[in-house]
Amino acid sequence: MTDEITRELFDKLVDLAALQLEEEEAEYIRRQLNSQLTAIHELAAVPLDEDTPLAAHGVPYTLNTSAPARQDEHNPFPRPEIILSGAPEEEDRYFVTPEIPHEDLD
């Protein structure tokens, strides 16, 4: 585990994350990522068995501790206009976005 996040890989990640970075910010963040990655590489030293379980959370969930599944019932928010009032742009109770990139089919 000695990977480094190269500039090329970094730029790809930035693109996938739907971000844009100024040059100075990009350099700072890439440097920090590689520092953190060096710390993460410490994990390579941990002896692991094939059957060591993956822990998606710490505390085990059992039937005795878990809430029963809710009924699959439609439970609408009582006043949708409150939610719409927080929209950056709204028209006729629709969220409005800029043009969605698309290709016209023949």
Binding site: L13, S35, Q36, A39, L43, A69
Partner: protein, 531 residues
């Protein structure tokens, strides 16, 4: 003594008996805010002045009108003979990561700077139902991403009431600074890697990270969904227990909130520690951190003063009848931070994708061509460096070609960290502990600007707290002494799943044992000379 300096327990009793009104309690807290807090955090703060450097700056949004209405309701109910809730009239604050209907809920980020929550988080709703009075929303590291509260987009960032040239810790730094300075008896914080316990240690207050699932996360702006725990910040153990009584319990709106019965956490508080087994582990008395200059991991002893505070706490508890079990091995403690660097980043990358400028929050004002460009500009302008960094790391370590070596490996190491605690607490095992006693932090509060910017060193401030988040277990942090620079020294108790009661009981016994200690009489610097 001012009303704002009383404990929540004392104040609630006076209000219930109508010796003082909830409005009077509120006025006292508001007066204290005027005296010590200075200007609230803002996106357009301009230059930080020498005057700013003497103030606490706990708040982003003050909610005086809501507080006044809530306090008047409490007084009216009392006048009508209605028995109010257990926290009736007690002023509190909420970290600005909780959605509260009718308030801005910013997460300390520009991207939520105009976001008014349409609903209220369950822990806040339970505080409201218990009659507590909300003073406002308090500052934090942006999206809780930090250990000093300096990374908030809302400046001036909070400062430590014990010495405003030092940080209050983070990410619940506004919560712990507010409670330490008398701006509300209680605060709702959240703890993902230590974000309640580390700032509580820095500010000399009591902070409790409950067991994962003990308190609902509904309405919390998510960071690491398998790690996040809302919990109390208080001035003493009894107040923390009272607050946990109110906020704990199952919630139909959060399927990870467990159905385990909630005991009365105040019932056994004075039960003492006789016969309890409390462990000390050598793995919590050294720090391991990444050295930029050598490129290696260095190992160093912790602050001698903190080590001494923990040892003295063990002595006090032993004198009160606890059995101190030394040399408990916790060998995976040193992997807590590297594991956290992976797991928390994967979870946060997933959680932060929702902020896109479409349904709520900030959208770039620039003229833009299409939706893709709007996403990019909005997120570039709206997020600060810390969230950006964490999103990118999360995407990298969970990418298909790297996941096995990073994410999957980290999840396995998480099992081993959990295993350390299971062995220590196993009732049929060698140690059979009720709790572990550890330092809360490797050092007392550090100076503003000393660590900020170095994201690796900053993360290592959480080395002793983060393993509890991986394991899901509860942890209590409290003051165990004062350094020669007059900064609080934090000790920590780590317990078994859902056994917050044991931690509170041990913590209360320690308070009793040290009630006459000289450091207990000391007050934060910002309170000196107040009328």
């Amino acid at each position: 003594m001012e009303l704002c300096d009383l404990s929540a327990f004392e104040l609630a009793g006076l209000i219930r008996n109508r010796e003082v009104s909830a409005v009077e309690a509120l006025e006292s807290a508001l007066k204290r805010i005027e005296q010590v807090d200075g200007r609230s955090g803002s996106l357009e703060a301009g230059e930080i002045t020498p005057e700013d450097e003497k103030k606490v700056h706990a708040f982003i949004t003050r909610t005086e009108q809501i507080a006044r209405a809530e306090a008047e309701v409490v007084d009216r109910k009392l006048a009508e003979g209605v028995i109010p809730g257990p926290l009736a009239g007690v002023p509190y604050t909420a970290k600005d990561i909780f959605n509260v209907r009718g308030t801005l809920s910013t997460a300390g980020s520009k991207i939520l700077s105009n976001y008014e929550a349409p609903y209220t988080a369950t822990p806040v709703a339970r505080m409201q139902k218990a009659g507590a009075v909300i003073l406002g929303k308090v500052n934090l590291d942006e999206f809780t991403h930090g250990s000093s509260s300096e990374s908030s987009a809302y400046q001036p960032a909070p400062r430590n009431p014990w010495d405003p040239s030092t940080v209050p810790g983070g990410s619940s730094g506004g919560s712990t600074a507010a409670v330490a300075a008398g701006m509300g008896q209680l605060s709702l914080g959240t703890d993902t890697g230590g974000s309640i316990r580390q700032p509580s240690a820095f500010c000399g207050v009591v902070g409790l990270k409950p067991t994962y699932g003990r308190v609902s996360r509904y309405g919390l702006i998510a960071f690491g969904s398998s790690l996040d725990c809302p919990g109390p910040v208080a001035r003493n153990v009894r107040d923390a227990a009272m607050m946990l009584n109110v906020i704990a319990g199952p919630d139909p709106s959060d399927s990870t909130a467990v159905t385990v019965p909630v005991p009365d956490y105040t019932a056994e508080l004075e039960g003492g520690v006789k016969g309890m087994r409390i462990g000390l582990s050598p793995d919590f008395f050294k720090i391991q951190y990444f050295n930029h200059e050598s490129g290696e991991m260095d190992e160093e002893p912790i602050s001698a003063e903190i080590k001494q505070a923990v040892e003295q706490a063990a002595d006090r508890l032993s004198e009160m009848g606890a059995r101190i079990v030394e040399n408990v091995p916790m060998p995976h403690t040193k992997y807590g931070i590297p594991t956290y660097f992976v797991i928390s980043r994967v979870e946060v990358a997933s959680n932060l994708h929702r902020f896109d400028g479409v349904k709520y929050g900030y959208r770039t004002p620039l003229a833009i061509e299409d939706l893709d460009e709007m996403y990019r500009r909005t997120r570039a302008e709206g997020f600060g460096a810390q969230p950006k960094l964490r999103i990118l790391m999360g995407m990298y370590v969970s990418a298909a070609q790297y996941s096995a070596q990073y994410y999957q490996r980290a999840l396995k190491v998480r099992s081993l960290i959990r295993g350390d605690f299971e062995r220590a607490y196993d009732p049929d095992g060698e140690y059979r502990l009720d709790a572990l006693l550890t330092p809360a932090t490797p050092t007392p509060a550090f100076k503003f600007g000393d660590v900020y910017g170095d994201t690796v060193l900053m993360q290592y401030a959480d080395q002793f707290t983060v393993t509890a988040n991986h394991a899901g277990i509860p942890g209590l942090s409290m003051m165990g002494g004062l350094s020669k620079e007059r900064l609080p020294l934090g000790i920590q108790l780590l317990g078994r799943d859902y056994d917050e009661a044991a931690l509170l009981r041990i913590g209360r016994a320690f308070e009793v044992a040290t009630q006459d200690a000289p450091w207990r009489k000391e007050k934060p610097q910002v309170l000196a000379g107040l009328a």
